[in-house]
């Protein structure tokens, strides 16, 4: 859960463009008086901002008139939400049973070595964020990794570098 620790000191005016922040305000304004709006708002906000650092959570909490404790609880509960910056591409390595026995772990280790990041972390150039998942329902293709929405199946350790180099 290390990756979930929010960066409190982040300067949102430097991190986000005025357009992004304007969109956030619009999302909040549109959902202000709706019950159960928190998760859709967080989802849309993350779509615009890519990640949800603490100052953004505070803006959402006061905008929707919800306790900050609850907003923080929801963001940390769902693995979909992230409080740290995300890479341009999310790399999801499947470690479900089928992929695991077919070498998923070795693939994961090589990716970690290549990208020099741990699970849940983002590369310093913010190109990749590494995650693991437990089964994506493509067991026949194992071992499988997802980069964004692209599937790379039957992956061999030697091919990992090639896959990484396809994205920039």
């Amino acid at each position: 859960m290390k990756a979930k620790a929010g960066n409190v000191d982040i300067d949102i005016s430097k991190e986000f463009t005025p357009e992004q922040l304007k969109k956030l305000d619009e999302i909040i304004a549109k959902n202000k008086d709706k019950a159960g709006a928190l998760i859709p708002v967080l989802e849309q906000a993350q779509g615009v901002l890519e990640f949800l650092p603490m100052p953004i959570l505070k803006i959402i909490a006061s905008g929707l008139n919800l306790p900050l404790s609850r907003v923080y609880g929801v963001v940390t509960f769902y693995s979909f939400f992230t409080m740290t910056p995300r890479g341009k591409h999310t790399m999801r390595v499947c470690l479900g049973t089928a992929c695991y026995v077919r070498g998923g772990k070795a693939i994961n280790d090589i990716i970690k070595k290549e990208l020099k990041v741990e699970e849940g972390e983002t590369t310093p150039d913010r190109l990749f964020t590494l995650e693991t998942v437990r089964c994506v329902g493509a067991c026949g293709l194992g071992p499988v990794i997802f980069v964004g929405e692209n599937v790379h199946g039957r992956l061999k350790p030697a091919k990992v570098k090639d896959v990484i180099s396809q994205y920039n």
């Binding site: 979930k4 404790s69 609880g73």
Partner: protein, 592 residues
């Protein structure tokens, strides 16, 4: 009330429709264990310890959330139920640190009691593999996350009962933890240390620092009383052991607060560090010297007897009981004809002759107008009611500035009371909370809402309403007093300013619990019992008369506030009522 007939453990019972299985069981004394459920909180069915077997149901179901229906057949301790509860307990004990002997809640812990009840005598899973932090950043109580079972009672108490919403639950699964705001130390959060979470915690995760390890519940006495920190009059229980007060708990059955208390009421009285006055003292040769009650009272009586009524001054704290204020009025105003009598704090202006609302109206309102009072600071429990109403969608209109404790919750903050009244006029069921801070103009503006709004005066001080009713609110003139009788009680006064205008040669009698600059200057000091040492009654801001109980013996030779005045009346040869019951009855009669 529609009744529903059910069978529980073979016993035919009927319970009101809409009850859940747990409530129906409680009615007939069937004990279904609970952990996350609490009578004062909304049931969430999270811990699963209350599962029962219901004929026709596919799985075991949680008694705390499942409503009863006609003909339902329930088994509360069947082998299947017991097996499920044991599994839950095995899992709970396997997570975090539940090594009971080291915990001060041992003996009073709901988790431990369940362990005994279901024979959990060993761990079947590996335990305590991961350490969690302990947060002791709050002054009065700490949170040891290692003992937390994540029942969420504290979170619901904070949100649903107190409407403060400081606490939340973060992360998932084995990493789940209770947090404050967005995971800041409790002591730096929006926590107001009301201690409601502390009181509902089933384990030793939340623990009172002061009374930890000072006795198990079975060794203590719980004495119901009324809080005397402000004018709301919350019901509380004074927990004592061996003649000492361990802690204060809230009274779940209390009509006004229903289990709520605030920092001022729950903790502050126990952290008192002023020096007590423990014996009567008379100034002889410029120095205060210990004396006997008899001698001291005789000295006062002689002084008073030889003084013209016009030169007698009486000043009282609103911290006094109804009984003391009644006797003080009877003795000085009625018998001795003194007219220079006053109250140490101001009072809310009297807007109407008849009551126009009660504290219970706050949560039912749609617009709340707050003027001339800061309940978040001075009467926190009243502010909980306001925040509750705001949670439910009520609009809060605050007359005053941003420094008011309710400002963060206000829909609008207005400087002009007239404008606030205009907003309230358009509401469906507005309520007005007003205090001593409103001006005459403000008072007349508020009166426009008569008939439309409920009015609740939030009196400053404690028993201010009774003090005013007994006549202690006339412009007191310190300079006119040749003999001054000051019933100071527990009231803290930073300096002797009150006595600034008193004639240097005046004879000053102070009836006080604590040594202060005023007792230092007095000619006679009478030691007075504090809140936990006196019996009597208090009148709250709505005019409700409530009993206060004596939980422990007074320190040294101190006596109850009313008793001292009663003894003085005897010395003066005035025949006033002498038994507490009689005085209470008369005082209550007069307050009606």
């Amino acid at each position: 009330m529609t009744m529903v007939n059910i069978t529980m453990n073979g016993q035919k019972i009927s319970a009101p429709a809409g009850s859940n299985i747990l409530q129906a069981a409680k009615q007939v004394g069937i004990d279904i264990p609970t952990l996350c459920d609490h009578p004062a909180l909304v049931s969430i069915g999270a811990c699963r310890i209350c599962v029962v077997e219901v004929t026709g149901q596919r799985t075991l179901i949680t008694a705390c959330t499942f409503p009863i229906t006609e003909g339902m057949e329930i088994q509360t301790e069947s082998p299947q139920v017991v097996k499920a509860r044991k599994l839950i307990l095995d899992l709970l004990f396997s997570e975090r640190n539940h090594y009971c002997p080291m915990c001060q809640m041992s003996g009073d812990c709901e988790l431990q009691n369940l362990g005994y009840r279901y024979g959990i005598d060993h761990w079947i899973y590996p335990t305590y593999t991961k350490g969690f932090p302990v947060d002791a950043s709050r002054k009065y109580f700490f949170m040891d996350h290692n003992r937390c079972v994540l029942c969420g009672r504290c979170e619901r108490a904070c949100g649903d009962l107190v409407a403060n919403h400081t606490l939340g639950l973060r992360n998932r699964g084995a990493s789940s933890m209770i947090h404050a705001d967005a995971n800041v130390p409790f002591g730096e959060s929006t926590c107001i240390s009301c201690g409601s979470c502390l009181q509902v915690c089933p384990t030793g995760a939340l623990c009172d620092k002061r009374s930890a390890y000072m006795g198990r519940n079975i060794q203590t006495e719980h004495i119901k009383s009324t809080c005397n920190q402000c004018s709301i009059g919350c019901g509380m229980e004074i927990v004592t052991r061996g003649g000492n007060v361990l802690r204060i708990e809230s009274d779940w059955d209390a009509e006004i607060n229903a289990g709520l208390l605030c920092k001022n009421g729950r903790f502050d009285p126990l952290y008192e560090d002023r020096t007590r006055v423990t014996q009567p003292m008379i100034r002889i040769g410029g120095k205060l010297r210990p004396s006997s009650w008899d001698e001291t009272l005789k000295t006062i009586a002689e002084k008073i007897s030889g003084t013209n009524a016009k030169e007698i001054g009486v000043l009282t704290s609103s911290n006094s009981t109804n009984e003391a204020l009644y006797l003080l009025g009877q003795l000085f105003c009625k018998e001795l004809k003194a007219t220079n009598v006053g109250l140490l704090n101001s009072a809310a202006p009297k807007l109407f002759d008849k009551p126009q609302g009660s504290l219970a109206d706050i949560v039912k309102s749609d617009v709340i107008l707050v003027a001339g009072t800061d309940p978040a600071k001075d009467q926190p429990v009243a502010s909980f009611f306001v925040k509750h109403a705001v949670d439910r969608g009520a609009k809060l209109i605050l007359v005053g500035g941003k420094d008011n404790g309710l400002a963060p919750f206000a829909t609008m903050i207005l400087a002009d009371i007239g404008k606030a009244v205009e907003v309230a006029e358009r509401a469906g069921s507005p309520v007005v909370l007003y205090g001593a801070g409103i001006t005459e103009k403000g008072a007349s503006a508020l009166k426009k809402l008569q008939g439309k709004a409920a009015f609740v005066a939030i009196e400053p001080g404690v028993n201010t309403r009774a003090a005013v009713a007994f006549g202690f609110n006339n412009g007191f003139k310190a300079s006119a007093a040749k003999v001054l009788y000051a019933l100071l009680g527990e009231q803290g006064l930073e300096s002797a300013d009150v006595l600034k205008d008193v004639d240097k040669k005046a004879f000053v009698v102070v009836q006080a619990s604590y040594v202060s600059p005023i007792t230092e200057k007095a000619d006679v000091v009478l030691p007075m019992a504090i809140w936990s040492e006196r019996a009597g009654s208090l009148t709250n801001t709505e005019g409700r008369v409530q009993k206060v109980s004596k939980a422990v013996e007074p320190a040294g030779e101190a006596k109850s506030d009313w008793e001292i005045i009663s003894l003085l009346a005897n010395k003066l040869g005035k025949k006033l009522a002498t038994s507490l019951d009689e005085i209470s009855a008369r005082a209550t009669q007069e307050l009606k």
